[in-house]
């Protein structure tokens, strides 16, 4: 398939990923409402919110970095999505995956937060710097078990290519890394809780402490950009985890099923737990998840 066609397909995939992420957001609000005994908003509520926010206009003036931050965030999400193959074997849906893309993916996951850190400094509201400092410190904490899990997988298949990892898991369900290397999977999925910023790890937003963290001053177009960036980042992350641990997918239906399972794992955890303090969350990630990641690496090396 020529590059231009592939690029076009990938851009279509980006738009579809944003829509899928927003739908997942609506599903989450619905499910959380059901858990809390409420009826909940319609599933398409995030689309309405997005449209409303786009039709707003801002009257505030900050710095350039303030306006660039949501672009960084959305860009990080899109770059991450463009690197992760959705379905191996369908050229339209395996994006620009190349050997060693795992390293770049690990960078892109944290790219958005770094962009927010640049922008939050210009928000002028103290909640934004406080929130972003919390976010970055928590990020460095859960990056460690996540990176260890990635290293374990890479050492397992002797390649840093997501494609290789997915191909190595084919054949049987037991070949999935979820079962082939359960320790690395445990480390990665615990880090996934921190990535998704759901309770008990939602210390960045924290409406009861620093409402609402870095996006405090954002409204209108910039907020809509952040919403879509968050959506596509979530989709890219769950697709990545599906590729790494659940053996990829062969059909879109399988993609939806596996990604929803992965995502709602963090939602259900968040439904029943209060929020950690910052240092408690850091201690958590540097505790058992890191140990599990190290053990996963050792398991691969001694095997």
């Amino acid at each position: 398939m020529p590059f231009v066609v592939k690029l076009g397909w990938s851009l279509v995939g980006v738009v579809a990923a944003i829509a899928y992420g927003l739908t997942i957001g609506g599903l989450i609000r619905k499910v959380m409402a059901r858990i809390q005994g409420r009826i909940g908003p319609p599933v398409w509520q995030p689309f309405i919110d997005l449209g409303k926010v786009i039709f707003q206009r801002t009257a505030t003036q900050h710095g350039v970095m303030f306006y660039l931050a949501p672009i960084f965030r959305a860009g990080g999400g899109m770059g991450l999505y463009l690197l992760v193959p959705v379905i191996i074997g369908v050229p339209a849906l395996e994006n620009f995956s190349f050997n060693g893309d795992l390293l770049l993916v690990m960078y892109f996951i944290f790219f958005g937060s770094l962009g927010m850190a640049l922008g939050a400094a210009e928000a002028g509201h103290p909640h934004a710097p406080i929130g972003i400092s919390r976010g970055l410190s928590q990020m460095t904490a859960y990056e460690l078990p996540f990176a260890l899990a990635m290293v374990a997988l890479a050492a397992q298949v002797h390649s840093f290519s997501i494609r290789e990892i997915v191909i190595a898991q084919q054949g049987s369900v037991l070949h999935w890394n979820l079962f082939a290397n359960p320790l690395a999977a445990a480390a990665a999925f615990l880090a996934f809780l921190g990535m998704n910023m759901y309770s008990p790890f939602n210390i960045v937003g924290a409406p009861q402490e620093i409402p609402v963290g870095p996006p405090t001053e954002y409204n209108s177009k910039f907020l809509s950009l952040m919403m879509s960036g968050r959506a596509i980042l979530a989709v890219a992350k769950i697709v990545l985890f599906m590729d790494l641990f659940l053996g990829g997918a062969h059909s879109l239906l399988e993609v939806f099923a596996k990604t929803l399972v992965i995502y709602f794992w963090s939602v259900f955890v968040g439904a029943v737990f209060p929020r950690f303090r910052t240092e408690q969350s850091i201690r958590f990630f540097l505790g058992w998840p890191t140990v599990a990641g190290l053990a996963g690496v050792l398991l691969v090396l001694v095997r």
Binding site: A271, F276, T278
Partner: protein, 375 residues
């Protein structure tokens, strides 16, 4: 809302409130942050000042009852009872309150205590971003509000207790419906315990946080769950017996640790206690009149005098200081709300060294109620 970096670039001055989801009600805490902990803070109130005491000096006694219930929004009945008790104490009417009226007052007080505790227990974890338990608990609270509506005609501001007794009689079949609601609440409470008190994260957040030293109790005249969470069995229902509490069978709830967890646990056990008390009251409700024969409220004057009556609100000691001068209006009313000490002096004294994440749980565990600080 305004923000600036204080000199030395060491402390960040940050305002919590008045528009802040973590602040209980419409008040603000001006705090100085050092890293993640507070170096100190000042409480600012007055956003809800309505001048109750000035207004009550202009109104007749009966006209004051619709006003006093606004003093604490979530728990108005304590104020109504206290004003009635103060006026009865000054006018010698307190001996004429009929039995059934006193029992119904006790019933209303316990119902309001129950709904307030349900809401506050939800706020304990709601301030830690667990939205599930508050939703359940406030839905349970609405059952009690329905009974209030049936009994008094209003959900929140009841204006039910007047001097001489209460305003209306018990509706027929009230006890059965209340019993049904109490059973519903008791059925749900284990779920709530499972989410709140069995949660390891809540233990990590609450145990050992916001410990109030025992020396401060007499020094600052603390009261309520803050004291009971230290293990001191201080409850005005036992210490200064009023209404029908001496005839009821209940133990003062205490806990140990004097931290947020202990206070939440005290509230949780007081919910069960209130449920039990409501059952006792409804079982022993006597027949008879529910209000004494009263003088004409338009020409009623009270001889000069001054008194101080107190009752155990959910948050601590609520007291009314009433001065009359022989006219048909009050000379002076002063409302001593528990939050007056807990929300200003105690909170400012607790702030240094508190983590920024613990301010909201701390305020909820003190049950700071701004309207009764500034009236």
């Amino acid at each position: 809302m305004t923000t600036e970096v204080v000199e030395l670039n060491r402390w960040v001055q940050i305002w919590f409130g008045p528009q802040h989801p973590g602040i209980t009600g419409n008040m603000s805490v001006q705090a100085w942050l050092e890293g993640d902990t507070f170096a100190g803070g000042v409480t600012h109130v007055g956003y809800l000042h309505r001048g109750f005491e000035k207004l009550m000096e202009r109104r007749k006694f009966i006209q004051s009852f619709p006003i006093v219930c606004r003093i604490c929004v979530p728990e108005p009945d304590t104020n109504e009872y206290l004003l009635a008790a103060a006026l009865e104490d000054l006018s010698g009417l307190d001996t004429e309150v009929p039995e059934r009226g006193a029992w119904m007052r006790t019933l209303v007080m316990e119902m309001s205590r129950l709904q307030m505790n349900l809401m506050t227990l939800g706020g304990h974890v709601g301030s830690m971003a667990l939205g599930t338990a508050p939703n359940w608990l406030i839905a349970l609270r609405d059952l009690i509000l329905d009974r209030f509506e049936e009994l008094t005609g209003a959900r929140v501001y009841h204006m039910f207790i007047t001097y001489g007794g209460v305003r209306r009689d018990l509706p027929a079949g009230f006890a059965e419906r209340m019993e049904e609601n109490l059973r519903t609440i008791e059925k749900k409470l284990p779920l709530v315990d499972n989410v709140i008190f069995d949660s390891s994260v809540f233990r990590k957040r609450a145990v050992g946080v916001g410990v109030v030293p025992e020396e401060w109790v007499d020094e600052m005249s603390l009261s309520g769950p803050i004291v009971r969470a230290m293990g001191l069995p201080r409850d005005l229902r036992k210490d200064f017996p009023y209404l029908k509490y001496p005839e009821l069978d209940f133990e003062v709830v205490t806990a140990h640790g004097s931290d947020i967890y202990a206070r939440a646990w005290v509230r949780r056990r007081e919910i069960s206690q209130s449920i039990d008390l409501i059952r006792q009251i409804l079982g022993r409700m006597p027949e008879g009149p529910y209000c004494a024969k009263l003088p004409n409220m338009l020409t009623w004057t009270i001889p000069p005098g001054q008194t101080y009556v107190r009752a155990e609100a959910t948050r601590g000691e609520m007291g009314y200081y009433v001065v009359t001068d022989g006219s048909d209006k009050m000379r002076r009313v002063h409302v001593r709300g528990p939050s007056y000490v807990h929300g200003v002096a105690l909170l400012e004294r607790m702030l240094p060294g508190t983590n920024i994440a613990d301010l909201a749980p701390l305020m909820v565990s003190f049950q700071v109620c701004p309207p009764e600080i500034e009236r």
